[in-house]
Symmetry: C2
Subunit: 248 residues, 2 copies
């Protein structure tokens, strides 16, 4: 499933302002009513940690607004981001209490949570929710594998171009943009966060962003607003990433 199909596959649940990826078009009114009963909202400030690696997580959730990241850390402090959660993305694993990475809000974050137990019971009763989750998990796995290629084999420049392409594409999908006109978006990450995502240092990220600007692949307004005049060119710079694996 590509991201462009997302809107047709999802439903709003109740009064949530977003379409939850986990709530699918096949959910009937009874299921939606169940979700209504077990849901609640949580909000986090930018920089706050949602869950620490190893902690128990007694809920599953969708991101409503804001951005969260999944990060793994080594004892000596080396960090690797392993996932990026944008609005409509799902967190949490039915059947698993603990989580193997830190979940952090990088911007102010609002999540729509469902208590884990009743959610799992609902999954038992309504197999298509489970199937939907399996599909989503397989998508995440494909994205993770695409990312492994990036981390293992791409150059710094290709890494940056890949990340920009992914953010551009996801952003375009969220906005339901028409495809004419230049793509433009705000970077939701600091240079350091980008570095943690790409397996680079922040200095290298900065240098390569500058290089892409100098070479006319992108232009910047301020530090964060990116304008992509020629998306095809960006994809070319990204290496074989023509299919733009979604990061989580």
């Amino acid at each position: 499933m590509t991201l462009h199909e997302v809107p047709t596959l999802l439903h709003r649940c109740g009064d949530c302002p977003i379409r939850h990826r986990a709530v699918c078009a096949r959910c009937d009114s009874e299921e939606l009513a169940t979700l209504e009963q077990i849901k609640y909202y949580r909000s986090y400030q930018a920089g706050q940690t949602v869950i620490w690696s190893g902690d128990k997580m007694d809920f599953v959730a969708s991101v409503v607004t804001g951005i969260a990241t999944l990060t793994q850390t080594m004892e000596d402090g080396r960090r690797q981001m392993v996932g990026l959660l944008l609005p409509s993305d799902f967190v949490g694993r039915p059947g698993r209490q603990t989580v193997a990475y830190d979940v952090t809000a990088t911007t102010d974050l609002l999540m729509c949570c469902f208590r884990r137990k009743p959610f799992e019971e609902m999954m038992q009763k309504t197999p298509h929710v489970g199937q939907r989750l399996l599909e989503m998990t397989l998508d995440e796995l494909d994205a993770a594998r695409e990312w492994m290629l990036l981390l293992g084999r791409k150059t710094a420049r290709e890494k940056i171009a890949s990340l920009l392409a992914i953010i551009a594409r996801r952003d375009a999908a969220l906005k339901l943009r028409e495809s004419n006109g230049p793509m433009t978006f705000d970077l939701p990450l600091t240079r350091e966060e980008m570095a943690d995502y790409l397996g680079l240092t922040l200095e290298t990220v900065s240098r390569q962003v500058s290089a892409l600007k100098r070479d006319g692949v992108i232009s910047l307004e301020g530090k964060r607003h990116v304008i992509v005049a020629d998306f095809a060119r960006l994809l070319e710079e990204a290496g074989d990433d023509s299919d733009g694996g979604l990061p989580v």
Copy 2:
């Protein structure tokens, strides 16, 4: 789920000589009979490609004997391995025909296949098979994320130590070894394949293996047989990898 629990979660199906990870302890005799009807075997020679990226895959399967790898390739030939399939591992994605990476037999390989359509029908009828697949997929995702940390942030020496630790652990689990005595195993991969797995060159792999040998972390009999006198030491060399993420 750790690998050590695997045997309690799996069943043999029919006369297969292995326990399939996808066939779980909750499967009843009717389900096993269904599996019996839709299964068949395929064998591949070392080096043969099982499926090319983008190809249709009309079956799902378990590895019975031998080793297969999942690989992503860029146009210019840079390769990154994204998965390693050992006996009992599952390949294929219910609900998806095409596959996004090459699957290759690195040794002679026997797979127990199930036709995809009837397998999916069975999944619809018996939700716990779907749940089992969801669990397995979540495990793979955790392993993939662990691997992202390795690819993005570990040094060459740590990468080698991590790979050896994972193979040692999996091998021990397959053998159901008692834990006394030194761990010993045969490397199922060439230096080049190890390099493709770790995001290194084969020369670097060779050098780092030699270095670990020189430093007394491992010893070798011939090129491929590894003896690990002190597993804890190996884990320490591997970085924070104390939990040893399973590669696929």
